[in-house]
């Protein structure tokens, strides 16, 4: 569904991604793991159009069409069903919970089905229904994460880019969020998951890529990566 070919991306003068190639197939959960500064967020931001690659291709295969994403604006990419849920939640603190969810649906061309989707998000995260009129900034960290995921769902993603959904959350909340991610995938959403928490990510994912200094150091089925000595040592905190 998504294909990155020899991607080079700069942030200002810094060469962050140095030739990345990877694929995400329809229906998969793919985990992208690596240390801080390896280029995980940069990869997602390039896919969602916030950053432009210097060279290389980002291709979306959708309904038999091949679309070059690198030439598109972020708002156009959202309309293609590629939705990026950014790191650190980043809900709109001064807007109400409900407005945040409606912003999620902002890019949708047909306005029908929005109410149904809102109900679905409320079913998934009942707390968001309870707090619908509250300012998003007054929610707890975990509730904000639910709001961020719910907001992304309102865009009806076909490919969801999730950046560090476990960051700063209590373990129980992490369980909840990961359960939702699994359910979403079962319901047909393809997911590219960036995580510091490599163990959880690889347990959930079908396949994984390990990013080191802007290049892919290792890739393979999730179970294989979980069993890999190098990965165990560097990312799973298990002495090898």
């Amino acid at each position: 569904m998504l294909e990155l070919v020899d991607l080079h991306v700069y942030r200002g003068a810094t060469h962050v991604l140095r030739g990345i190639s990877m694929t995400v197939d329809e229906g998969e959960v793919v985990a992208l793991i690596g240390a801080n500064g390896a280029g995980k967020t940069t990869t997602l931001q390039t896919v969602s159009g916030l950053l432009r690659p210097r060279t290389g291709e980002v291709t979306l295969r959708s309904q038999g069409r091949r679309i070059a994403l690198a030439a598109q604006a972020p708002e156009a990419i959202v309309r293609l069903g590629v939705v990026h849920c950014p790191e650190g939640r980043q809900v709109f603190a001064s807007l109400s919970v409900e407005e945040n969810l409606m912003i999620g649906a902002y890019a949708r061309r047909q306005r029908t089905g929005i109410a149904a989707d809102l109900a679905r998000v409320h079913d998934l995260f009942p707390i968001l229904a309870e707090r619908r009129a509250q300012r998003a900034g007054s929610l707890s960290g975990g509730e904000q994460m639910m709001l961020a995921v719910g907001r992304a769902l309102m865009a009806r993603p076909r490919l969801l880019l999730l950046d560090e959904p476990s960051l700063g959350l209590a373990p129980q909340m992490v369980e909840t969020i990961f359960a939702v991610i699994r359910d979403l995938n079962r319901a047909g959403v393809t997911i590219l998951l960036v995580e510091q928490n490599a163990a959880m990510a690889l347990e959930l994912a079908h396949r994984g890529y390990v990013l080191e200094n802007g290049t892919i150091a290792l890739s393979g089925p999730a179970e294989a990566l979980l069993a890999d000595e190098q990965v165990k040592h560097a990312y799973l905190g298990i002495a090898g």
């Binding site: 969602s48 604006a73 708002e75 959202v78 603190a93 807007l95 407005e99 912003i103 902002y106 907001r151």
Partner: protein, 296 residues
């Protein structure tokens, strides 16, 4: 004596309304693009001169107001397209210089077209009618200015808080990057902020002319700067703050002139800008504003 105090109060409200209308635009634009539009005050001048033209061709006043709103919006959108958009990724300082340049262009084109001589600007005679208000009377002009301001502000509140566009504007002001990720076309949102803010400034210019009787191509600049001071008092970036700051500044100016011996009246503008420096010293975020520090 009652008449005197009521008149002072009305003077303060009238002046405050005009400052508030201009300050709102500063705040809306700053809220989204983090830039002060130095040409914003000159939009008021453009509004006032458009009014002269419309009156000359005999347009009825309601039509005039609508056209002036449109002219202001158009001017704002043009400034955005010419001077802001090409420099959106440039350092902040570049943006200030560009808007200052736009201000110089507008003022001097004004001088080239209309000459620098002040022109009389008259509301219809009926506006000079005195209307009884409690124990005193006030002029219809002042009532209309305050009334129009309240109506326009209410409209703005509806747009900002009850429409999709307004929601997108608030989201963009809070976090431009994430707004883009939600599929918001920020170019359109920024354009809307310039358009709405400038439309209000243009009407403020119309009413400024009618209240003070004379306009010239440079008249918008200093009131524009004072309106910026008002938005700083309220907290730049906050529309509510701009309104509050506008009325506080209008009242303060009127009190200053009204309470002190007449020989100090000339120091009014010095007071306004000294206030700015003092506010920046003790309350840099203003009364209702969030942080003004640069986002890293």
């Amino acid at each position: 004596m009652t008449q005197y105090y009521v008149q002072q109060l009305v003077n303060g409200l009238t002046l405050g309304s005009l400052y508030a209308l201009v300050a709102i635009g500063f705040s809306m634009i700053y809220g989204i693009v983090r830039l002060i539009n130095f040409a914003h005050g000159d939009i008021a001048m453009v509004g006032a001169f458009s009014t002269l033209g419309l009156v000359a061709v005999g347009a009825p006043w309601p039509v005039t107001i609508l056209v002036v709103l449109a002219v202001g919006a158009l001017a704002g959108v043009t400034i955005e397209a010419v001077a802001f958009r090409p420099m959106r990724n440039a350092p902040q300082v570049t943006g200030f210089i560009a808007t200052l340049a736009v201000s110089v262009v507008i003022q001097n084109v004004g001088i080239m077209v209309f000459s620098g001589q002040p022109r009389n600007f008259l509301f219809p005679d009926v506006m000079r009618t005195r209307v009884p208000l409690g124990p005193a009377t006030v002029s219809l002009t002042d009532l209309v200015i305050v009334g129009v301001t309240v109506v326009l502000m209410s409209l703005l509140v509806v747009i900002v808080h009850r429409t999709r566009l307004g929601m997108a504007m608030r989201a963009t002001a809070e976090n431009l990057q994430v707004a883009r990720l939600m599929g918001i076309d920020i170019n359109r949102t920024i354009m809307a902020a310039f358009g709405l803010g400038s439309a209000l400034a243009a009407v403020a210019g119309l009413m400024w002319g009618g209240r003070f009787g004379q306009i010239d191509p440079l008249f918008g600049f200093v009131p524009g700067l004072k309106a910026f001071v008002a938005s700083v008092i309220g907290g730049v970036g906050s529309i509510g703050g701009a309104v509050l700051g506008g009325y506080l500044l209008g009242m303060a100016e009127v009190l200053f002139v009204g309470l002190l011996p007449p020989e100090y009246a000339g120091y009014r503008d010095a007071l306004v800008f000294t206030t700015l420096i003092l506010i920046l010293l003790v309350l840099p975020n203003g009364l209702l504003g969030r942080g003004v520090e640069d986002r890293a």
